[in-house]
């Protein structure tokens, strides 16, 4: 492609831009803060969208109270994922304390085995994962729907994790474990295995199975030393 003549930037602006670009404004502490908020967003978003307003959501996470307290503070900015996904307005309201914007999904109370969760029947907000931003080729508006070509397996995997996350948020450890174990059996090498493992540790801790939670946390830390979920895992076992 031949660039039009005005493609070239005049030297004065070039010098100004170069000089401006050489100034490093970002504080050294910012990356750590951003990562913490991303982790908080990963934990909070589904809670906000699925069971917002239910005190039980927070009670269920009592073992991660410290982390959640931090996350709640961070969420004013990170309502993040949920804000982008489903409720850009959520940022205006206290995170997770707002009235539920949609009926809570139905989570099976069933103890062991039989994960009879019918994903399509659930009212879990659409697959979390950032289906909201089409990174490139099409025009702007956010769409909360998954891209058509996003593979079904990943979508199903995400849906299962959302069911488990909702159960966790409601304090239903057994239900969460049922879903998580079933998902692990069905997709031992699932692409969201890391997230699933972190939730399993939370669920075990919530169920009072502390030794198992700690053992899994040790494995988790070794397997994913730079995981975004590490703070959540650590908070769950302490």
């Amino acid at each position: 492609m031949t660039a039009p003549p005005d493609d070239l930037l005049d030297p004065e602006l070039r010098a100004l831009f170069d000089s401006a670009s050489s100034h490093d404004e970002m504080p050294a502490s910012a990356p750590g803060h951003i990562l913490a908020k991303v982790s908080a967003g990963l934990l909070l978003a589904p809670v906000i969208t699925a069971t917002a307003g239910k005190a039980t959501a927070w009670h269920a996470l009592k073992k991660t109270a410290t982390w959640v307290a931090f996350a709640a503070g961070a969420a004013s900015g990170v309502a993040g994922y949920a804000a982008v996904e489903h409720a850009r307005n959520a940022r205006q309201a206290p995170p997770a304390m707002a009235a539920p914007s949609s009926p809570a999904p139905s989570v099976p109370e069933a103890p062991e085995p039989a994960p009879t969760v019918s994903v399509p029947a659930l009212n879990v907000p659409a697959a979390p994962p950032a289906a909201s931003v089409a990174p490139a080729t099409t025009a702007p508006p956010f769409t909360p729907h998954a891209e058509p070509n996003e593979d079904a397996e990943l979508t199903a995997e995400r849906a299962q994790l959302e069911v488990a996350r909702t159960a966790l948020a409601r304090g239903q450890a057994a239900a969460a474990l049922t879903v998580l174990h079933a998902d692990a059996a069905a997709r031992p090498r699932g692409r969201l295995a890391e997230e699933r493992d972190s939730m399993t540790i939370q669920a075990l801790a919530l169920a009072g199975r502390t030794d198992e939670a700690r053992a899994r946390a040790t494995t988790f830390t070794r397997r994913y030393p730079r995981s975004l979920f590490l703070p959540i895992v650590q908070a769950a076992i302490h």
């Binding site: 492609m1 660039a3 039009p4 005005d6 493609d7 930037l9 004065e12 602006l13 070039r14 010098a15 100004l16 831009f17 000089s19 401006a20 670009s21 100034h23 404004e25 970002m26 910012a30 990356p31 803060h33 951003i34 990562l35 908020k37 991303v38 967003g41 990963l42 978003a45 961070a74 004013s76 900015g77 990170v78 993040g80 994922y81 804000a83 982008v84 850009r88 940022r91 979390p128 994962p129 950032a130 289906a131 909201s132 931003v133 089409a134 990174p135 490139a136 080729t137 099409t138 702007p140 956010f142 891209e147 996003e150 990943l154 692409r191 890391e194 994913y224 730079r226 995981s227 975004l228």
Partner: protein, 190 residues
């Protein structure tokens, strides 16, 4: 300043988190600067960056590694900023936040007589201030093309506009920017 090549490892089967951290470490500063240039206030940029990275984390499996990374990140940052309507809502506040506010952060001793006398910090603030006077669609192209050195084809794809439209907006954006620059310099120098 050329962007780094898209990360090639770990492979597609590798843990997404490792890839995320690789990209995060390499591009956290780029995303920060992009948000600022798009109009995010200094006090908001950390939160907005968190939103961007949360989306990046969730979207990573849809990122085509054959494509350049920065336009993809820019597209996400652009949508986060515009979706928040921060630009329209806070445009004036951003301006007031900046160096051009009525004496707020201006230091007479730093008043430049010429561009080459500007410190990098002053140049940075001057550019951010001037950018706030450029229409956001033009600004996005100006930033990507003139500051990020992105090819126009990638810019057009990222923003979903025809290449000719992108060139037109670039030209208009530069005009807007230069006019704003002239006004700001006059004010700083007075």
């Amino acid at each position: 300043m050329k962007p780094p090549a898209p990360p090639q490892s770990p492979g597609a089967e590798g843990p997404a988190n490792e890839l995320f951290r690789t990209i995060f470490d390499a591009e956290v500063r780029y995303v920060w600067n992009t948000l600022r240039r798009l109009g995010a206030r200094a006090s908001d940029v950390e939160d907005l960056a968190s939103e961007v990275w949360l989306i990046v984390y969730r979207r990573l499996d849809t990122y085509d590694r054959g494509r350049p990374l920065r336009p993809w990140l820019f597209g996400i940052a652009f949508r986060v900023v515009t979706a928040e309507r921060r630009l329209a809502h806070h445009r004036r506040e951003v301006f007031i936040d900046g160096d051009s506010a009525g004496g707020g952060e201006r230091h007479a001793s730093e008043t430049p007589a010429a561009d080459e006398q500007l410190s990098a910090r002053d140049a940075h603030k001057l550019v951010l201030d001037a950018l706030q006077h450029v229409d956001v669609d033009r600004r996005a192209i100006l930033v990507m093309h003139d500051m990020d050195d992105a090819p126009m084809k990638d810019i057009a794809e990222t923003l979903g506009v025809p290449v000719n439209t992108a060139y037109s907006r670039l030209r208009l954006g530069r005009e807007d920017f230069k006019q704003a620059l002239t006004r700001l310099k006059a004010r700083r120098g007075s």
